[in-house]
């Protein structure tokens, strides 16, 4: 098997208890649906944790980025435990430090400000995808 398909897996924590979990989820989908639809797939973390062999095999073979809401880094830890070390980890709470004016408190529907933060996180994920696939960033 080769890595010729040019796909990168993204596995996000979707943490239900924290707004950062929702940001991780929305940012991941923004990359999948809008920023890098042809280069990325999402891996379902609950399925991965419940023993989903397809998800685990993908992360064993293809480069995978973990997107975590907080410093507990559950997505990274799960990938490491069941498939191997992810090639990169993006932590929402770290990205937030770069944009202190963007506050987040919603867990369900994101406000325009929170959506802006999700886009910033998505841009960081997309940049990492480009680095992994050795491509120049799209304009």
């Amino acid at each position: 098997m080769t890595l010729a398909t040019g796909k990168v897996g993204i596995i996000c924590c979707s943490g239900e208890d924290l707004p950062e979990g929702t940001i991780s989820r929305v940012a991941t989908r923004l990359v999948l649906e809008k920023l890098r639809p042809d280069q990325t797939v999402t891996l379902c973390l609950p399925l991965f944790l419940a023993g989903g062999e397809d998800e685990r095999s993908f992360a064993r073979v293809f480069p995978t980025i973990a997107v975590d809401g907080c410093s507990k880094k559950c997505a990274e830890a799960a990938t490491r435990k069941f498939s191997g070390k992810p090639v990169a980890t993006i932590q929402v709470s770290q990205v937030m430090k770069k944009y202190p004016h963007l506050k987040t408190k919603s867990r369900e529907k994101l406000t325009p400000q929170e959506m802006k933060l999700a886009r910033k996180v998505a841009e960081e994920i997309a940049k990492k995808v480009d680095e992994i696939l050795c491509k120049t960033p799209r304009k």
Partner: protein, 135 residues
């Protein structure tokens, strides 16, 4: 002693809108309808063995709210030896409400939101029943 609460754990599946419907229904209950009687926990944190998360689901009654029949939330609560007292699947509600076609993961469409409301109503009733039995 900390008050007993019903812990609602949605699967948050990210591949289809069903996971988002479950997640939205959960927030309607824990944030709007029964904020004092219910709460949630990060499923990934629980499954990775966080001690506070484990303590929470072993002490309090839990409802698993799964998007699809893979039932990842239910399986992960059971694997964590949590007090699973009820489980619900979004696809069961979808079968009873065939006119509703949920779409969207980033944001649910109106029909998805309506389905989440229907599930939230059921979830809320179930939480009441559980707490009544626990008294």
């Amino acid at each position: 002693m900390e008050k007993l609460r019903v812990i609602v754990v949605p699967c948050s599946g990210i591949g289809k809108s069903l996971g988002t419907v479950g997640r939205a229904a959960t927030y309607k209950v824990i944030e709007q309808v029964k904020p004092e009687e219910t709460r949630t926990v990060c499923l990934a944190l629980l499954t990775m063995g966080d001690s506070d998360a484990l303590k929470l689901v072993r002490k309090n009654p839990c409802i698993a709210l799964d998007g699809c029949p893979a039932q990842c939330s239910k399986k992960n609560i059971e694997a964590s030896k949590g007090r699973l007292v009820h489980s619900m699947i979004v696809t069961d509600f979808l079968r009873k409400n065939r006119n509703l076609k949920p779409e969207g993961v980033i944001e649910l469409n109106e029909q998805g939101d309506k389905l989440a409301e229907i599930i939230a109503e059921d979830l809320s009733k179930k939480a009441d029943e559980i707490l009544q039995k626990e008294k």
